[in-house]
Amino acid sequence: MSGTGHDLEHSGGHGENPLAPGLPEHTPRRADVDPRAARRAERQVATLFGVAALAFIGFVIAYVAFPVDHVTTVPVLGAVSSSNLFLGLTLGIGIFCIGAGAIHWAKKLMPDVEEVSERHELRGSDEDRAASASEFGRGTAESGFTTRPIIRRTLLAAMVLLPVPLVVLLRDLGPLPEQKLRTTLWAKGTRIVSDVTLQPIKPGDIPPGGLISCVPEGLDKVEEEQGNLNARAKAPIVLVRMRPDQIRSEQGKNWDYEGILAYSKICTHVGCPTALYEQQTHHLLCPCHQSTFDLADSGNVVFGPAARRMPQLAITVDADGYLVAQGPFTQPIGPSFWERG
C-alpha cells in the first residue's frame, strides 16, 4: 500500500496481552473430592437415562392406548388430541432426558480442567507457496494453455455456450404469457352468480349497503374441464349496492345498475382477494397488505401499496332480470406486469 494505507501485516502473537494472567488454577468440584458427591451425581445421571428409557416404553403404550381421534381436556391448553399430547410428552421427555443425562455426566463426572492447544498460522510457508506457484506455472506451460490461444479461445467459447442448452431446456416449463393475464371468463351477457350458491342474482337480492362475492356463470364447468383453478383466480368480483347518489364516480358511464356496482375482487397490488368491506365509507380493504379502494369513487386507491384502481366490470340485467356483464373487463385484473402498459 501507499503512504495513505496502514495495512497491518500478519504478525504472530498480536493478541498476547502482557496484563492478562495465565489460566487460573483449577478448583476441584465436589464430585472430584467427595466420593459420595460423585456417587450422587452418578445416580442422577442414571436416573435421567432411566427416565428416558421408561418414557420410550410410555410412548409405545400411548401409541396403542389412544385412538387417533381421542380428545383430552387439559387446563390452559383446552381440548387437545390425546394421541398428540401423550406421544409428544413421552417422546419429548425421553429425548430431553438423554440430553440432560449426558450433559450432567459431562459436567459433574468428566474432567473439567481446561486445556490449552496452540494455534498455528493457517497460511503455508513462503517456500511452500513458491513451490506451488512454480508447479502451477509448470503445469500451465506444459499444457500449452497460454501458448496455444486457439485452443484456449475455442474452449472458452464452448464453456460459455454450455449453459445455453440447459437454459433452453427450461423453455417448456410453461407457456408464453400471450394474452393470458388480460382475459377472464367475463363476456357480454355473462350472468353473475353467487360464489356460494352458484345461483344467478337479481338486483333485489342485494341488500342496500351489502356486498356479495360473485363469479361468472359456468365457472364450475370450466374448472371441471381444465382441472385447475386458473379461471377462478382471475374471475371473482364483488357486487356492492349503494344509493345512486352515493356514487361519486365510475370507470365508465352507466357501468352500474341502479346503484349496484361490480368490481374485480383481485387486488391490484400482488393479487390477494380483497374481502373486507366497510359499508359506511364504501372502502374495500385487502387483508394482505391493507390496500384500500373506494368503490364509490371508481375503485380508486385511498390507502396502501396498491398503485392502480380496482378494475370495474360494467353490468346490466338480461331479459330475465338477472345481473349480467355488459362485456369483458376493459383492462387486465390483478397485479401489474411489465407488458401491461
Partner: protein, 552 residues
C-alpha cells in the same frame, strides 16, 4: 483395557488398515473446543436442521405433492364434501388419521421456525464479536448463504400443504415475480407451468423443498463445519486466552457428551413444544381457493419483514411507453432484500478494507470495543424490526384499536429516522462503557466502603480489579484512523489522492475518529502500584480490626 476400548480400537484398526484414519483420529479426538453459551446458538441451528431432516422424511411418507382436485370425506367432518387438492387432503389425513402424524408435522414446523431463528441470533453473535474477521470471512459468506437458503426452504415448506394461507402466500410470490421488468410474466408462467395457480407448482415446489434446497443446505453446513474445525473456534478474551491458543475442553469425551447431549436437549424441547402448543392448524384455514382469504393472515416470522416492506411501501408505479414498472412491489420485495443481503455478505470485506488489518483474529471482540461496528449492527436490527412490525400492522391496529393509516405512516417515518438514532445511541453507550473500563483499570472499582481518615477526610475505598477481570478489560486493541496528508508538499504541489484512498480514509475516520484512549500497560501498572501504596498508608492510619472493606 476395557471391553469398550478394545472394541473401539479393533474398529479403528480395521478402518486404519484401509483408510489410514488413525492419524486423523489421534489428532482430533483430543481437539480442544472453547466453551461459551453463545457458541451454542449455531449448534441449535444445526440440531434443528437434523430434526427437520428426520421429521421431514417421515412426512414425505404420507404427503402427496399434487394439486389434483379431490373431494374430502374423512375423519375431519367439518371439511366433508369440500373440494381440495390432494396435497391438502394428505396433510389433513396425516394430521387426523395417522397416530403421531400431527406430532411429526408440528415438530417439523416448530423446528423450522427455530432453525431460522437460531441462524439469525448466531449471526448476531458472530457479527457483534467480530468473529467474521480474517480468517473467517469465507465462512461468514457460507453462513449468509445458509440464512438465505433457510428462508427459502421455510417458505417452500409453508407453501406445500396448499391451505388457504399457503396458497395466499404463493399468490403474493407470483405477484412479486410479475413485477419484474422484462422477464416477470415469463418467469411467473414458467415457474407455475402456466397461469396461477395451475397444477404444476406444488409437485415442483416439493422437489425443491425435499431435495434441491436441503441438498444445498447440507453442502453449505458441511463446508461451514469443516472450516470451523480446521480454523479452530474463536474464543472470548480471558486469563490464559490469547490469539495464538485455544482454551477449552477435549472433543472426546467432554464435547462428545456436551454437544451430543445438547442435540437431544434441542430435539426434546422441540418435541415438547409440539406436544403442548399447536402450530399451523391447516384444517382451520381450509383448502386454498383464489377467491377466499382470512383477515389477519400472517406469514411465518422470518418472512414478516419482507411482508412488512410490501405493506409500508408507498404506491409508486411508473407507466410509460406501453410498459409498467411496479416500484411498489419491486423495491420492497426484490431491491431492499437484495441490498440488505449484499451488504450483509460484503461487510467483513468492507471492514477489513477500512482497518487494513490483514492479521488473523481468533480472540473475539467485546462489542463495546468496536463502537461503530456495534452501532451498525444495532442500526440494521432496528431497520429489520421496524419492517417486521410493519408486517403485523393490521394485528397491531385491531389489538390496540389504532388506526392502520397512522401505524403505517409512523413506521414509514421511523424506518428512516430510527436506525440512525439507534446507531448514535449504541455508539455512545459503547464509548461510555469503554470509559468505564478505563476508569476501572486505572482507579479500581468502587467498593462502596467509605472511610473517615484521622484527618477527618472521607474517602471511598477503591480496589484494583481482579487479574481475571483485568485480562478481559485490557483485551482488544485500537486502530488509528487513517490520516491523509493532502496539503502541498515542499514544492507546493498538491498530491492527487486516489478516490479509493480518500474514501477509505473517510470511512476510517468514521470508524475510529472517536475513541476512548486505552490505558497503557505502564499506566495500569503505575495505578495499581499507587493503589497498593494507598492501601498501605490507609492501613497504617486505620485502627487495626477495621481495615477489611465491608460490603454495603
Amino acid at each position: 483395557m476395557s471391553a469398550v476400548t478394545k472394541a473401539a480400537v479393533a474398529t479403528s484398526d480395521y478402518l486404519d488398515d484401509r483408510l489410514g484414519s488413525t492419524k486423523w483420529l489421534k489428532k482430533n479426538l483430543g481437539k480442544i473446543f472453547p466453551d461459551h453459551w453463545s457458541f451454542m446458538l449455531g449448534e441449535v441451528a444445526l440440531y434443528s436442521f437434523i430434526v427437520l431432516l428426520l421429521t421431514g422424511v417421515y412426512l414425505s411418507l404420507f404427503f402427496v405433492p399434487s394439486q389434483t382436485e379431490v373431494v374430502y370425506n374423512g375423519s375431519y367432518t367439518m371439511l366433508d364434501g369440500i373440494k381440495m387438492s390432494e396435497a391438502y387432503k394428505s396433510t389433513i389425513d396425516l394430521s387426523f388419521d395417522v397416530r403421531g402424524g400431527l406430532l411429526m408435522r408440528q415438530i417439523h414446523h416448530w423446528a423450522a421456525l427455530l432453525f431460522v431463528a437460531a441462524i439469525t441470533v448466531h449471526l448476531f453473535r458472530v457479527f457483534f464479536t467480530g468473529a467474521f474477521r480474517k480468517p473467517r470471512e469465507l465462512n461468514w459468506l457460507v453462513g449468509v448463504g445458509l440464512l438465505t437458503m433457510g428462508i427459502f426452504e421455510g417458505f417452500a415448506g409453508y407453501s406445500l400443504p396448499d391451505d388457504l394461507l399457503s396458497g395466499t402466500g404463493l399468490r403474493i410470490a407470483e405477484g412479486i415475480m410479475q413485477s419484474l421488468p422484462l422477464v416477470g410474466t415469463y418467469m411467473a408462467m414458467f415457474v407455475f407451468g402456466g397461469q396461477f395457480p395451475g397444477t404444476a407448482f406444488i409437485p415442483r415446489l416439493y422437489i425443491v423443498h425435499v431435495l434441491l434446497i436441503p441438498g444445498i443446505i447440507l453442502a453449505l453446513i458441511t463446508a461451514h463445519l469443516m472450516m470451523v474445525w480446521y480454523q479452530k473456534h474463536t474464543q472470548y478474551p480471558g486469563p490464559g486466552r490469547t490469539n495464538d491458543n485455544v482454551v477449552g475442553f477435549r472433543l472426546f469425551p467432554i464435547y462428545t457428551a456436551k454437544a451430543g447431549g445438547f442435540f437431544f436437549i434441542v430435539f426434546g424441547l422441540t418435541v415438547l413444544l409440539s406436544a403442548l402448543f399447536q402450530i399451523n392448524p391447516v384444517w382451520m384455514f381450509g383448502p386454498y381457493t383464489p377467491t377466499e382469504i382470512t383477515a389477519g393472515s400472517q406469514p411465518d416470522w422470518y418472512i414478516g419483514w419482507m411482508d412488512g416492506a410490501l405493506r409500508l411501501m408507498p404506491n409508486w408505479e411508473i407507466t410509460a411507453w406501453g410498459h409498467t414498472l411496479s416500484l411498489n412491489v419491486m423495491i420492497p420485495a426484490m431491491i431492499i432484500p437484495g441490498i440488505l443481503f449484499t451488504i450483509l455478505g460484503l461487510y467483513p470485506f468492507l471492514e477489513a478494507w477500512v482497518t487494513g488489518d490483514k492479521r488473523e483474529h481468533h480472540l473475539l471482540d467485546r462489542p463495546r470495543n468496536a463502537p461503530v461496528r456495534t452501532g451498525i449492527g444495532v442500526m440494521a436490527i432496528t431497520f429489520y424490526v421496524l419492517l417486521w412490525i410493519g408486517g403485523g400492522n393490521d394485528i397491531i391496529a385491531t389489538q390496540f384499536d389504532m388506526s392502520i393509516n397512522e401505524i403505517t405512516w409512523t413506521l414509514r417515518i421511523l424506518l428512516f429516522v430510527a436506525p440512525p438514532i439507534a446507531f448514535l445511541i449504541t455508539r455512545r453507550i459503547a464509548l461510555a462503557l469503554q470509559r468505564r473500563d478505563r476508569e476501572k483499570l486505572l482507579h479500581g472499582y468502587e467498593t462502596g466502603t467509605v472511610l473517615q481518615l484521622p484527618s477527618g477526610e472521607f474517602i471511598e475505598v477503591h480496589a484494583p480489579v481482579s487479574p481475571q477481570e483485568r485480562a478481559v478489560l485490557t483485551a482488544g486493541e485500537s486502530y488509528a484512523p487513517v490520516v491523509i496528508d493532502d496539503g502541498p508538499d515542499e514544492n507546493g504541489v498538491t498530491p492527487k489522492i486516489p478516490f479509493g484512498a480518500r474514501t477509505r480514509a473517510k470511512l476510517s475516520r468514521f470508524y475510529f475518529g472517536e475513541q476512548v484512549e486505552r490505558p497503557t500497560q505502564a499506566e495500569i501498572e503505575a495505578a495499581e502500584h499507587h493503589a497498593h501504596e494507598l492501601a498501605d498508608s490507609q492501613q497504617a492510619q486505620i485502627p487495626s480490626g477495621s481495615q477489611e472493606p465491608s460490603q454495603h
